[in-house]
């Protein structure tokens, strides 16, 4: 747990961070966001005291960290930054070993930890241990950077725009990996970004800062539905607010039961009260959808189920909606890991109720 109490930073008589108080619970993924110069990075860097605090308190667990020697504090908190800051003269293994080394772990334990972390990030330990940073791709380097931050099993993890310098595709992959690693390790994370989509995707709580002040600190969904003021509304972006909202909703929340057709060949939309139905094979995997097209008068009323035209329970509703629109079908099959049909989501459902 990290708690900031009345945190203030003054440069040359000007408050760049002003009375920020917030609390990131254990295991939470907290994101600090705001326009450039809002003080989000300064706030983050005050947590591990890279920047001296002018006023206020920071609690790590129930300890007031302002009383600890800064170096000791930093060894207890992982830190990952944009463009990684990997040491160019050390191998991947040596980079990861830095903090455990500073903490004087025995060599065996460090070695085991390096392998464990490389595995966590799906990097082959045999291959990557001895590589130098300049031999890594941007995405790999960033993974090593985060692995290094996690090396000594820190009480919390601070990340300063860690994915800011990688291309959009890699960023997406890294974000998904970050979510997975967060689930697996349960670390308390404080993450700085200026990208609202990134924040909505990763955060369990978002703190919006403006001109050094905390404007709103809430769960993403509340931020979207109950913005504190005009600034927050503008910052989130009014234009695609609805879509942003759907990016915080998941398919399992909207999932309905699906109608299985016993005799698919005899399905006729006109003759039954049912608008559509699914044809499945003997393993329970859907083959195609009868009916359910956008225009009932279309001659072809069957849609083949493909990988692109289907959903999983943990998919965001934004993506599910996108697939429906693209394929011009009002429903989407929901599949489990064995690709069996477990339900469906429908266009009406998206608009219908609040989960």
């Amino acid at each position: 747990m990290i708690e900031l109490q009345g945190l203030t930073k003054t440069y040359a008589g000007k408050d760049v961070v002003e009375e920020v108080s917030l609390r990131v619970e254990s295991g939470e993924f907290g994101v600090l966001i705001g326009p450039s110069g809002c003080g989000k990075s300064t706030t983050l860097r005050m947590i591990n005291r890279l920047i001296p605090i002018t006023r206020g308190r920071i609690l790590l667990g129930d300890e007031d960290v302002t009383e600890l020697p800064p170096e000791q504090l930093r060894r207890r908190i992982g830190y990952a930054i944009q463009s990684t800051g990997l040491f160019p003269h050390w191998t991947v293994a040596e980079n990861i070993a830095v903090v455990p080394g500073l903490l004087k772990w025995p060599k065996q334990r460090i070695d085991a930890r390096i392998d464990e972390l490389l595995n966590l990030f799906h990097l082959d330990a045999g291959e990557f241990r001895h590589k130098y940073p300049h031999q890594l791709s941007g995405g790999q380097a960033q993974r090593v950077g985060v692995a290094r931050a996690l090396a000594a099993d820190p009480e919390a993890l601070l990340m300063d725009e860690p994915f800011g310098a990688v291309d959009p595709l890699t960023r997406d992959v890294l974000q998904n990996e970050m979510l997975r690693v967060h689930r697996q390790t349960g670390k308390t994370i404080v993450f700085v970004t200026h990208d609202m989509d990134e924040a909505l995707k990763l955060a369990s709580r978002i703190a919006i800062l403006n001109a050094g002040r905390l404007v709103q600190y809430d769960r993403p969904i509340e931020l979207l539905t109950q913005p504190a003021d005009e600034f927050v509304r503008n910052f989130i972006g009014k234009a695609d607010l609805g879509l942003k909202l759907l990016s915080r909703r998941w398919v399992y929340q909207y999932q309905q039961s699906a109608e299985i057709l016993e005799q698919p060949s005899s399905f006729h939309h006109d003759r039954s009260s049912v608008t559509h139905g699914w044809e499945i094979d003997d393993q329970g995997r859907p083959l195609c959808l009868h009916g359910g097209r956008l225009y009932a008068e279309e001659s072809e009323q069957r849609t083949r189920v493909t990988h692109e035209w289907s959903a999983t329970p943990d998919m965001t509703m934004k993506e599910a909606l996108s697939r429906m629109v693209w394929f011009r079908v009002m429903v989407l099959p929901v599949l489990d890991e064995q690709e069996r049909l477990i339900g469906e989501v429908a266009m009406q459902g998206v608009m219908g109720r609040e989960p």
């Binding site: 591990n48 890279l50 800064p70 170096e71 000791q72 504090l73 930093r74 060894r75 207890r76 830190y79 930054i81 944009q82 463009s83 990684t84 800051g85 990997l86 040491f87 160019p88 003269h89 050390w90 191998t91 830095v98 903090v99 500073l102 130098y132 940073p133 300049h134 950077g145 290094r148 931050a149 601070l158």
Partner: protein
């Protein structure tokens, strides 16, 4: 439309390697037109010139001619493929060089057989050209082959070893410069040692002062301007002027303070030389130390601090290893520079190889001049090469 790199050989017709051809033609023209050696009745008069063909035995210039033909073929697009041609140059060019050296030595021996004992044989302009061109051919071939430093060093060591062996086998003993050496054997050893001692005793203090100053320039931006201004000021003053200007105050100081005189501080001699050498050495050391530290990426330092390294740990484990190659490059510049400046120090009585040069110039004894100049140049080139290797080794494996 615009070619990234003109592909050598294929598009250019007959000539595949114009550099090699140019060097070869230069060597041949030099050999044809300029004197290869000169013979003088004694050390103080200038000699009679001898061309390459008349100085060398038939088998010697014949072999040189064959090697020239071989090198010429290497420069053409046929019959050899390019890498094969480069490798062939690496064999033929040193053979050419060694043969030229041997030829000069053997000419000297033969010419002296029926001459007075005062007669002198010295090398002429064609010799320098014919010896220097194969060296450049070798350099060019290595560059085209992109050979790594280790192999190049090994090759250079072999070549230097062969030349040293020729010295050891008394091949050159007939040459005036070695006659001069034979007459001054002990003095040469002493002056050589003095030269090295002067350089070393300047570099030690220069590093001791320069490294902290470089770090200071990095940490305190306000100190940078005045510091570099002052050091550049030193560096700008011509060496002989700085040496000379130190003479007067040091003489006065030593006059006034007997304990300094007891320490050996005098207006003339090693003291002003070493002080001046230190003053010259400071700018490159301080500048490169500063540049080395300034070159460490800000994110690297941020990460180091963020992970809880103390400033001492950051200095020793991160900053110094990353800055070291640049700092050593500064040391390389300074060492070479100091070896050269020490020559001038002979003018204020500090000794060293320069004393041969200025003594020789004073007596119009050219061979004595060369006895000072050639070893100084060799010393500078060797020091440069060794420090270059040190710089390469100091580069962390991960740094580009």
């Amino acid at each position: 439309m615009h070619s990234t790199k003109v592909s050598k050989g294929e598009s250019e017709g007959l000539v595949a390697n114009r550099v090699l051809l140019t060097l070869l033609v230069a060597a041949l023209i030099g050999a044809a037109l300029l004197p290869f050696a000169a013979m003088a009745p004694n050390r103080l008069v200038s000699g009679q010139s001898v061309g390459l063909v008349s100085a060398l035995l038939a088998w010697q210039w014949g072999t040189l001619g064959l090697l020239a033909v071989l090198l010429g073929l290497c420069a053409l697009s046929r019959p050899f493929s390019l890498p094969a041609a480069y490798r062939l140059v690496l064999v033929a060019a040193p053979l050419w060089l060694l043969l030229v050296l041997y030829g000069l030595g053997s000419y000297a021996d033969r010419a002296l057989e029926d001459a007075s004992s005062a007669a002198r044989i010295s090398q002429g302009a064609a010799f320098w050209i014919v010896a220097f061109c194969p060296v450049l051919m070798i350099v060019d071939a290595f560059q085209r082959l992109h050979t790594n430093l280790a192999l190049r060093s090994l090759y250079a060591a072999l070549l230097a070893g062969s030349v040293a062996a020729m010295f050891a086998l008394d091949v050159f003993d007939g040459l005036a410069i070695l006659r001069e050496y034979a007459n001054n054997r002990e003095l040469f050893a002493a002056e050589f040692a003095t030269h090295l001692r002067l350089v070393a005793s300047a570099l030690g203090p220069a590093l001791a002062i320069g490294l902290p100053l470089g770090l200071l320039a990095h940490r305190r931006s306000g100190a940078r301007g005045p510091l570099f201004g002052l050091l550049n000021f030193f560096q700008t003053i011509p060496s002989i002027a700085l040496f000379a200007l130190l003479v007067a105050p040091l003489a006065a100081l030593s006059e006034a303070l007997p304990f300094l005189r007891a320490l050996g501080v005098k207006g003339i001699g090693a003291t002003p030389a070493i002080i001046a050498l230190i003053m010259y050495a400071l700018l490159p050391i301080v500048r490169n130390t500063y540049a080395g530290f300034a070159g460490v990426a800000a994110t690297t330092l941020e990460a180091a601090r963020g992970m809880g390294m103390t400033s001492r740990q950051i200095l020793w484990r991160v900053e110094i290893p990353l800055a070291l190659p640049v700092i050593l490059s500064g040391l390389r510049i300074v060492t070479v520079q100091a070896i050269g400046l020490t020559v001038v120090a002979a003018l204020i009585g500090a000794g060293g190889l320069g004393s041969f040069i200025f003594q020789g110039l004073g007596q119009y004894a050219i061979d004595l001049v060369l006895l000072g100049a050639v070893p100084t140049i060799a010393l500078a080139v060797v020091a440069d090469f060794l420090l270059q290797i040190l710089v390469a080794i100091s580069k962390p494996a991960g740094a580009r």
